[in-house]
């Protein structure tokens, strides 16, 4: 696909908007359909598209495999970290009410926090798996 001008330019134009949409789906997940999982997949799709059109080396210069693998683990830690934080603030594990003076605001912060963990994990997992599939055939044939 490296010679296809329309595909190359189209992909380059689309990638920032896909990333923006992914962030919108995450941060607007309280008010509209969507949430962490969908946002993570959409963010990953942006980089998968870039990798499909420009090749694995180009996308791995932007997102090294070690980075996305770390993301996969980091997201789980963020999720559990929010739970531990609420425990330290005197609440139950993942009881977000204690995160702010008003329990409703605390719920907002907590939900955005754990959803951010989901986004990071799903994004890291999807991109890692894509790297593994795409990179497998290159050396070992």
């Amino acid at each position: 696909m490296r010679e296809q001008v329309i595909v190359r330019v189209g992909a380059k134009v689309l990638v920032p908007f896909i990333i923006l949409f992914g962030l919108y789906v995450h941060f607007h997940g309280d008010y509209s359909p969507g949430g962490g999982f969908q946002a993570g997949v959409i963010l990953a799709a942006a980089f998968v598209l870039y990798g499909l059109v420009y090749g694995l080396d180009a996308v791995q210069r932007v997102l090294p495999p070690a980075f996305v693998q770390a993301c996969a683990a980091l997201g789980v830690m963020v999720f559990a970290g929010v739970g531990v934080l609420t425990m330290f603030l005197g609440g139950n594990f993942l009881g977000y009410g204690v995160l702010a003076h008003d329990p409703e605001h605390g719920q907002h912060y907590g939900i955005i926090g754990v959803e951010a963990g989901v986004v990071i994990t799903v994004f890291g997992v999807m991109v890692s798996i894509f790297y593994l599939f795409a990179g497998r055939g290159r050396r070992s044939g």
């Binding site: 789906v25 997940g29 309280d30 008010y31 509209s32 359909p33 969507g34 949430g35 962490g36 999982f37 969908q38 997949v41 959409i42 990953a44 799709a45 998968v48 499909l52 693998q69 996969a72 683990a73 997201g75 789980v76 999720f79 559990a80 739970g83 594990f93 993942l94 977000y96 409703e104 605001h105 719920q107 907002h108 907590g110 939900i111 754990v114 959803e115 963990g117 989901v118 994990t121 799903v122 890291g124 997992v125 999807m126 890692s128 798996i129 894509f130 593994l132 599939f133 795409a134 497998r136 055939g137 050396r139 070992s140």
Partner: protein, 163 residues
């Protein structure tokens, strides 16, 4: 009718997934539709194509007759259809599933959680513990794929050393 070209099979699976997403939208399960469209029709199709690039896109002829698989499919399908006989009518508001905790979620989540998307409220707050488990499952899946696929090709001298 049988398709031996796996490329066509992957495309059909993607189309099927996209149609299911439309179906979920009609049934007002927009969050599920969103996931189905993004994962089922999007990422899975790309991963299937990546796998096809490795293994080739023609299915070999199986060495057995289709009789046994046909029987298995018919028996399983029959059991599932028989199982639906006992299910409450679809979409009936009096169904037990709508009166366990769903009432509480629908009535109280605007005051307890304060966000309009009840699906997010249930997923991230009421069932936050479950969602943490799911995130861990996604992570575990990635680790499993890494263990299976990320083997580096060994050099011949290393293999001799280990043998």
């Amino acid at each position: 009718m049988r398709i031996r070209n796996l490329f066509a099979v992957v495309m059909m699976a993607g189309i099927y997934s996209l149609l299911s997403a439309g179906l979920f939208t009609i049934m007002d399960a927009v969050d599920v539709a969103f996931t189905e469209a993004a994962v089922g029709a999007g990422i899975s199709t790309v991963l299937f194509l990546g796998a096809l690039a490795l293994v080739g896109h023609h299915e070999r002829k199986p060495g057995h007759t289709p009789l046994l698989p046909l029987i298995v499919v018919l028996v399983t399908g029959g059991a599932l259809v028989y199982g639906t006989m006992d299910m409450p009518p679809y979409g009936d508001p009096g169904n037990p599933v709508h009166h366990h905790v769903a009432d509480h979620y629908l009535e109280e989540s605007p005051h307890e959680i304060g966000i309009p998307n009840i699906v997010t409220a249930v997923l991230a707050s009421y069932r936050g513990y479950d969602t943490m488990g799911e995130t861990t499952v996604v992570f575990t899946a990635a680790v499993a794929v890494m263990l299976l696929l990320a083997r580096r090709p060994r050099r011949p001298e290393e293999e001799e050393d280990e043998a």
